[in-house]
Structures are given as C-alpha cells and as structure tokens.
C-alpha cells in the first residue's frame, strides 16, 4: 500500500518541504521509498529516504567536568544514531566525567553504546584546578 508522507528536511536551514511516496506494510511502517519530491539538493534526497526506513539524528549535549573552572563540556556524536535511541544515548552521557586539559575534537567515548559513533568534545577544556 502506498501513502505520501510530508516532512521538513533538517539537513540545512533552508528546510525544504519533502514529499515522499512510501510503500507501507499493514502496520503502517515504511518499507520502501517509491518517489521523493521537494528537495533542492542531493543531501535532501539521502535524508528523505533514510527518514522513512531508519530515521537518525546527531546527538549534541554536555558532560560533567571534574576539577575544572567550568562545570560542563559540550560534546557531540561523530555521526548519527537511530532516533528511537536518542534519549537513551543522552541519558548514558550522564555517566561520563572528563578532566582537562582536552583539545576540541578529543574522543571522549569510543563506539558509544555500540552505536558505531564516538562522542567528541566540541570545545577545548583548560587544565583542571
């Protein structure tokens, strides 16, 4: 059964309105993308297709700093992780504590939760006190 799904592309601030014709199963789950319209670039095509079969997002958050002048260090995932696991991943960051000095881009957790992405610092951290 085919249906058309409409959503906004989040790849860039342009925010193209995508229309995707999807072949869905009886449970309403998207099985395959039949056609995609509304994207202004190739990245929109990739995003729109992935959004139907396996929606993914980057995770950005902060982790705790020990012995530092500041309390938190901003971090990000190096790639996207499945949207349904985003909250779980954000919660798991609560257990991480870092201490300076760290350069921006330093890997803080390798293959985080087995999701195939690392967690890296998105700012530098001065030497602890």
């Amino acid at each position: 059964m085919a249906e058309t799904r409409r959503f906004v592309c989040i790849v860039c601030p342009r925010g193209c309105a995508l229309e995707v014709d999807v072949d869905v199963d009886v449970a309403g789950e998207g099985k395959a993308v039949l056609a995609l319209r509304g994207n202004a670039c190739a990245r929109g095509e990739v995003y729109g297709r992935s959004e139907i079969v396996d929606p993914r997002r980057s995770l950005t958050s902060t982790v705790r700093v020990a012995n530092g002048k500041r309390r938190r260090l901003p971090v990000r995932s190096t790639g996207t992780i499945p949207l349904p696991r985003l909250r779980e991943a954000a919660r798991a960051l609560d257990g991480i504590v870092v201490e300076g000095p760290l350069a921006c881009g330093t890997v803080i957790a390798v293959d985080f939760l087995g999701l195939g992405v690392d967690i890296v610092a998105t700012d530098q951290l001065e030497r602890g006190m």
Partner: protein, 435 residues
C-alpha cells in the same frame, strides 16, 4: 589620572559579530581593542551546544562552541588586544578635530580605564524579551525564565530548571530548549504560540518538536501564572487572529516551569547614548552596507537586526570591521576628516518586514549585501527584485518565503544609475498567495 588605551578600532562585544569585526579590522593592519564583559569570548554561542552552525560559511554542521572556536583561535593568534570581564559603562564622542570615541571601562583585571579609538564597532548582540515585557496575569514565583536562561542553566551550569515545562512562544531558542530539556529528562508539556504560524525555522519544528512528540499549540497563549513560591500551573487560552483571548477557552496546565521564547530585541543602549536613531522595524541603528551608522560608528550582528543564522552575523561583523578600520586609517591619512561617499536609500516595498542596510554607500568597492525578511508566509514563493529609478537591477526567485527566515541579496553598487536616490526592494507574489 585614568589610564587611556589607544586603538584604531574598538569593538564592543566578543560574540560572533565582534569576533569577526575584530579579525577583519585587524587584518587590514589596524590596532584593535576587543571588549567583552564575560570571562571568555564566544558570546551566546558558548551555550548553544546544538549543531547546525556554519553550514553557509564552512559547509559543515558545527555546534555553537565549535563555530566560535574557529574565530577565537584566530583572535588569540593575532595582535588584537582582548579585554575580558570588562564592562563599558559609558561612551562619549570627542568634540575635538578628528572626533573619535572614548569608552569608560571597568575591568576585573585592569580596574578602571578609558579606551580611545577613532572608530567604534558596536557588536552588542540582542536580549530576550522577558516576562515583564509580555502580558501575563498572576504571580511571578520561581520557575519563570527565558529560553536563553534555561539554556544557560542546562548547558553551562549543568542543572535542570524544573521537572515539567510549558514553553510560551515558538522562537528558535524555545524549540531548541524543548528538545534539550526533553533529552535531559524534563517533560515538555507543549509549546504555545500566540500567532497562527510558528516563529522558528521549519527544521527546528521537525527536529525539536515532532521528533519527540511535543505538541505545538498555535493561536494559544499563557494568560496567567499560578503558584506561591514555585510555579504550580499556568492558564492557557485560545486567541483569535488578532491575539485577543477567546472567553471560555481557558484551561489549567500543571507545570513547575514556564519558559519564555517570545522574541529578541537588539541591544542598543550604547548606540542610543551616542545619539544614534533606531529603525522602528529592525530596532537597530540605520546603517550602510558596512554597518556604518555615521561619524565612525559601525554596528553589526544582532545589534543591527536579529539574524536567523550566525553565518550572516559573522558576515556583517566582517564588513563592519573592515569599514571601521578603513574609517580610522583614512582619518589618520586625511588629518582628521573622512569624507562620506554618495549614498542611496534602500527601501522595502509592501510585503517586507524590513531590509538591512538602510543605505548603500556607492563609493565603496565590492558587492553590497542586502538582508531582508517578508512579513507573511509565501508558500508559493515569490520573485524579489531590486530597482532604481524604474530600472530593475536584479531579480531573484525564491521557492518559498517565511518571516522567520532571513534572505540575502548581493548588489554591485557600481550598477546604481546616476541621479537616483533610492533603491526599491519589491515583491511579486504568486496568485495562490494573494489575499
């Protein structure tokens, strides 16, 4: 005798606009002083840990701190004099030949000092509209805060402001905070927007609300706050298209936190004290394409008008820094005078919220960038053209235009015909969007 530090260009504000302005001024050989009241550079980017910054400028999705770091590293590697934890409490123009400005500063490390430069760049950013600036009945217990304050508490201090939040206003920071608070374990009951359309970017509605099943209530607002020491609930109500509350539509929403994302206002206290008039539609000073507001004052970034993307803030900072340095150096060369070039006014026709800059200085080389916003959503898109004395200088088709999204045009000042004194920005909409 108060110590006086002398520069060619003084930049007030170490956020993205000020960083770019200081760097571009310094790049022309000017001696630059950069004044920042907080303990590190970066401005609001420090607390914007989400990504999406820098796509236009760097072709990459950076987080706020990463975007700021690229500029901070350059500043630290330059000979720009950075004054941190320094507050400018007054600015005055010198009446003597050559003019210039003296800033009265108070600094944690340097005590009380004065700074002088022939050119001043105001990169003072904007402020959030607060609960005192929107009309809500009831008490003001703990738990009422702006989205930017909530962001500071969560991302810088590492504390959650409460357990269950209602967000009033659908500005981008409010949407970003809806996601952020949810991921950190708070419950976001919903986002309430007085207008019929959301005021944030479409992609933020998708990735901050839809992704987490957070409802967006259009044409609804918060009319009363309840609670003695801590927020216990708010009254939400439906409004009509004019924003008037529909009687009988009120309902009580239990929450312990009310987050306000109800608009940003350019911060221009210093500009006003120096006698600059503000454009009522941008709430920033009227400037030319280099942020020049006259007599050696240059304004950039969110102090000029609230931008949607930091990339454009940096761009306007660069233009202001370059022109401020040019002004300072030409004053030195000309022994006290900098002759203004021929200016034409940029006027936005019906359908626009505003256009910035308000003037184009035709004597300046290189393309001039014009930013604009429309005043209503044009789903079918529109053609925007710039004309002078009936002649169309350029036209561009946009697939869709929305008020939250700023657009950008470039014009070659050399193409403006002789004898014309204003450029008109005009909107040609599609049939479907008419009426």
């Amino acid at each position: 005798m108060v110590d006086r530090k002398e520069y060619d260009v003084l930049v007030i504000g170490g956020g993205p606009a000020g960083l770019a302005a200081a760097l571009s001024a310094s790049g022309t050989g000017a001696r630059v002083g950069l004044i920042e009241r907080e303990e590190c550079l970066g401005g609001i980017l420090k607390q914007c840990v989400h990504d999406g910054f820098g796509l236009v400028r760097f072709g990459q999705m950076l987080s706020g701190p990463e975007y700021a770091r690229r500029f901070i590293d350059l500043v630290e590697g330059s000979d720009i004099a950075v004054h941190l934890e320094t507050f400018v409490h007054a600015a005055r123009r010198l009446a003597s030949a050559g003019g210039g400005y003296v800033l009265e500063c108070v600094s944690r490390d340097e005590g009380v000092f004065e700074a002088y430069a022939p050119a001043l760049v105001l990169a003072t950013g904007c402020r959030e509209r607060s609960d005192r600036q929107v009309f809500i009945h009831g008490d003001r217990p703990a738990g009422v805060l702006t989205a930017g304050l909530a962001q500071h508490l969560v991302n810088i201090e590492g504390v959650l402001p409460g357990r269950r939040a209602v967000i009033l206003g659908s500005g981008d920071i409010g949407l970003i905070m809806a996601r952020r608070l949810t991921l950190e374990g708070m419950e976001v009951e919903g986002v309430y927007e007085l207008k019929a359309e959301p005021s944030g970017l479409s992609r933020n509605l998708q990735q901050c609300l839809s992704d987490f099943g957070i409802p967006l209530h259009l044409l609804m607002t918060v009319v009363e706050i309840h609670g003695k020491r801590r927020v216990e609930a708010v009254t939400a109500a439906r409004v009509d298209l004019r924003g008037s509350v529909i009687a009988g539509s009120e309902r009580l929403v239990e929450c312990d936190t009310l987050v306000l994302s109800v608009g940003l206002i350019p911060e221009n206290e210093l500009a006003l004290s120096l006698g600059l008039g503000l454009d009522p539609s941008t709430k920033g000073p009227k400037v030319d394409q280099g942020g020049g507001a006259g007599e050696g004052i240059f304004v950039c970034g969110n102090a000029l008008h609230v931008n949607d993307l930091v990339d454009y803030v940096s761009e306007s900072g660069e233009a202001a820094g370059r022109d401020a340095a040019g002004h300072a150096l030409s004053i030195g060369a000309a022994g006290g005078t900098a002759a203004p070039g021929r200016r034409v006014a940029v006027k936005a026709g019906p359908g626009f919220l505003y256009a910035v800059p308000q003037f184009i200085d035709l004597s300046r080389p290189g393309p001039a960038v014009i930013y604009f916003r429309v005043n209503s959503t044009l789903r079918e898109g529109a053609r925007v053209s710039l004309s002078a004395a009936g002649e169309t200088l350029l036209g561009k088709r946009y697939p869709a235009l929305r008020p939250p999204e700023m657009e950008r045009l470039e014009i070659d000042p050399g193409r403006v015909p002789e004898g014309c004194d204003s450029l008109w920005l005009e909107l040609e909409r599609k049939e479907a969007d008419l009426g």
